[in-house]
């Protein structure tokens, strides 16, 4: 399962793409679920409660 035979070229580009994707995901979750700006909080209020984010 853990064969390490692949070419090492492009590995760092892959890891960069993975890190960028993870950052985007974290940014979206933070923005939609946590940022307390009034307009954002009010718009996202019900979905934050329903997904168990700390809301108020």
């Amino acid at each position: 399962m853990t064969a390490q035979t692949q070419s090492r070229t492009g590995i760092s580009a892959k890891l960069a793409a993975i890190a960028l994707s993870a950052f985007i995901g974290l940014a979206i979750v933070t923005l939609a679920g946590h940022v307390q700006t009034a307009a954002l909080h009010d718009a996202a209020h019900d979905s934050r409660h329903a997904m168990g984010f700390p809301c108020h």
């Binding site: 580009a13 993870a22 979750v29 979905s47 934050r48 329903a50």
Partner: protein
Amino acid sequence: MFSRIAVSALFAGFLAGVVAALLQLAFVQPVLLHAELYESGTLNHFGDGGAGNGGAGATAAVPGIDLERDGLSVLFTALTYTGFAFLLVAAMALAEDRGWRVTVRQGLVWGVAGFLAFQLAPALGAPPELPGSAAAEIDLRQIWWFGTVGATAAGLALIAFGRGWALRAVAAALLLAPHLIGAPHPDEFIGPAPPELASLFAARALGVGLVAWAVLGLLAAYFWLREARRAGEVGPDSPRAA
């Protein structure tokens, strides 16, 4: 690689988010609206709650669909699940890069693991709250939330991909630590809504979360593999790039 992750995450996250939003509207939102009648004082849990018989209005009529409010909820739920999807597909990409095969059926396990990390583990210390519930400072709870999600995800990853008992012990410590430290709690309980509503809300929020994360895991794996085939990165028998 990035476009493969992004396309998979956008499709899987949006679709799972719509599933989550519809289930929330059907099962979670009515409980939230009922609780808001207590929060606003329309109903009173502690007195004659307007039910006319000394009860607390257990069958109060709640408002129906509000297009603007519920539309925003659908939008933000879909957005949040798209964020979850980026994190989940990025983790799948990392696993594949390390030589682990991802299949659609395993996507179910990935999704349930996401649910454990992002919803169940934080809920053990800070259950999904009804509006009006007493709670500690928001900043402290958010820090605990992120710490719990991170520690749980890392612990689960170590159990899934680590080898040896030492790593499993570290995994157990990571899973336990947030709960030994404990979530921040308020100094006093002042929530106006009946505990019956609060427990129903928490249970339904978690139930909907489990279903939506399971769907997200399956869809994320499905689109991840489909995008690989489209990009010619892997053949039908080989999950690995040559």
